[in-house]
């Protein structure tokens, strides 16, 4: 189900995106009245969010708006103070990609990727062959026997992606995975991630503070306000897939960025008004 965009032009996809992909692989996520506070200040309060199966959702917002907290709550790494999290059936089949590649330095690339299967008790031959296959798909089939300290930052992140996908997750959670990389590597990995998404069709929640990255990757961008103030904007991105380099400079793409930036203005004013200076990355 891949739509091919005209070169240099990023057309509107004929079908609203969520249904266009996700060949039954993804799992739906539903957040109802979700609240979590650390000390006296709520990080998120009364958050409602429905993520249909197979959707690529980008959570966008400034530092400290609770993006990571939402992700950790969905993953079950943290427990909400209020509200409910509903994961569709087999919702435990989820994977998490951290800000850093978080590889075990004493393990070969292959054994790093096989780690989740190892922890879940998959027999050695099977987990190694599955890890090998995934490394092929992220273009690291030649690097099996290397150690993380012998790889570049972008390659390490690809290993981290492969490790997340090796369990065939139906829900993939990513926490600013490419934030520490240079722009060139980041764009390359964005395209790579899109390819993996189109192939696997899982539900994706992608936390980022980059608008361009959010628009490029997501079917839907949800922008959070600082300090638990909730959703500023719930914006569908109806660009056809696969999106590529020319898409990034198309007028449709830039219009989406413009829309997101415009939504940011009131919240920036609110921030300035509250007397606390904060830098919002746009």
């Amino acid at each position: 189900m891949k739509n091919v965009a005209n070169p240099g032009e990023c057309s509107r996809s004929p079908i609203p995106s969520p249904a266009a992909v996700g060949a039954g692989n993804g799992v739906a996520v539903s957040l109802r009245g979700l609240g979590r506070r650390f000390g006296p200040t709520p990080v998120i309060a009364g958050l409602d969010l429905e993520i249909p199966a197979g959707q690529f959702l980008a959570l966008l917002g400034p530092s400290g708006c609770g993006k990571t907290t939402v992700l950790r709550l969905i993953a079950g790494l943290d427990v909400p103070d209020q509200g409910r999290i509903g994961l569709g059936e087999d919702g435990r089949a989820l994977a998490y990609v951290f800000q850093d590649p978080c590889l075990l330095p004493w393990r070969r690339v292959l054994d790093n990727v096989a780690l989740p299967l190892e922890l879940e008790g998959v027999p050695k031959a099977e987990r190694l062959s599955r890890a090998h296959d995934l490394l092929d798909t992220v273009g690291l089939g030649e690097a099996l026997d290397l150690y993380p300290d012998q790889l570049s930052g972008g390659m390490r992140m690809r290993v981290s992606l492969a490790r997340a996908l090796v369990t065939r997750p139906r829900l993939l959670l990513l926490d600013e995975p490419f934030a520490a990389l240079d722009e060139f590597t980041r764009q390359y990995l964005d395209e790579h991630l899109q390819g993996l998404f189109l192939d696997h069709g899982m539900t994706v929640v992608f936390v980022t503070h980059s608008m361009a990255e959010a628009v490029f990757l997501a079917d839907r961008v949800v922008m959070l306000a600082p300090r638990g103030a909730g959703v500023i904007l719930d914006h569908p991105v109806d660009l056809s897939r696969p999106r590529d380099g020319p898409c990034r400079v198309s007028t449709a793409f830039l219009a989406h960025i413009q829309r997101l930036s415009a939504a940011l203005i009131p919240s920036q004013e609110a921030l300035a008004g509250s007397g606390r200076a904060r830098i919002i990355e746009v």
Binding site: R72, A75, G76, L77, L94, A95, Y96, F98, Q99, D100, C102, L104, P105, W106, L115, P116, E118, L119, E120, Y147, P148, D149, T167
Partner: protein, 260 residues
């Protein structure tokens, strides 16, 4: 490559030769008796003539020190793992580990003699007591400072406490353990010598600490210096061996040197 290596060895060698020569010349002209401060030549003569005795003594001391260090590693690592598993356990028992660090060993060594008698056993015990704390403290801090994201990863994939310990926490603590081992290696040698001061049974002539004590009583100061020289050499060899072990381990495990 060869030139580079020469350059590394040359400055300390030259400074050693220069200082020795200066001391020799000064002591030739100064009116200082040999039992107070022997000339370097006398020390070297003692090293040569007493070589057999000194070598025998240093081997005995190194046996005690390496056994003490080995016991420290085994007990220290086991203790660190035990303390790392449970918060309560740690609060309850870590103070006893600190006790090993703060106890004035020279004060309790006679007590050890009462308990264990004169001989190798007591000397090993002293060496152990002096060297165990750095291993416990460093290994424990390594076990507790595992990357939280990696712990999350293990949790997400439902790894149990034991699996997380074996596959994540212990390997991740290796650099800190090696730092502790390096500190402990020097202390183990010191502990063995102190142990010999107090508890040697003089069997087969005793260790290097005993040689020092005996030579002092005989006013054989050149031999004291020779023995101290040998002891320093032993400490250096220990340090170098542990460093080498650390480097090999780090290379094999692909882990970076801890910053110090």
């Amino acid at each position: 490559m060869k030139g580079f290596r020469d350059a590394v060895w040359l400055p300390p060698l030259l400074s050693f030769l220069g200082l020795t020569l200066a001391l020799e010349v000064w002591l030739w002209f100064a009116d200082i008796p040999s039992y107070l401060l022997p000339r370097p030549a006398e020390v070297f003569t003692a090293l040569y003539t007493e070589g057999a005795d000194l070598t025998r003594a240093i081997l005995r001391t190194s046996l005690a020190a390496s056994t003490g260090l080995l016991v420290s590693v085994i007990i220290g690592v086991a203790a660190a793992i035990g303390l790392s598993i449970n918060d309560w356990l740690r609060r309850a028992f870590y103070p006893y580990a600190v006790f090993f660090q703060t106890v004035p060993i020279i004060a309790i060594a006679p007590l050890l003699v009462i308990w264990l008698g004169y001989g190798l056993k007591t000397i090993i015990a002293v060496s152990f007591i002096v060297s165990v704390f750095p291993i416990i403290a460093n290994t424990l801090s390594g076990l507790l400072s595992t990357d939280p994201a990696l712990r999350d990863l293990f949790r997400l994939h439902r790894a149990g406490t034991l699996t997380t310990l074996v596959k994540l926490r212990i390997p991740a603590a290796l650099p800190q353990f090696l730092t502790g081992l390096r500190i402990a290696s020097g202390l183990a040698v010191i502990g063995a010598i102190v142990g010999e001061f107090v508890a040697d049974d003089y069997r087969g002539g005793g260790g290097i600490g005993t040689v020092v004590m005996v030579a002092i009583k005989e006013l054989n100061t050149p031999k004291v210096f020779a023995a101290v020289f040998m002891a320093a050499l032993l400490g250096l060899v220990f340090f170098a061996l542990v460093n080498l072990l650390g480097r090999l381990t780090r290379r094999h495990w692909h882990i970076a040197e801890t910053r110090e």
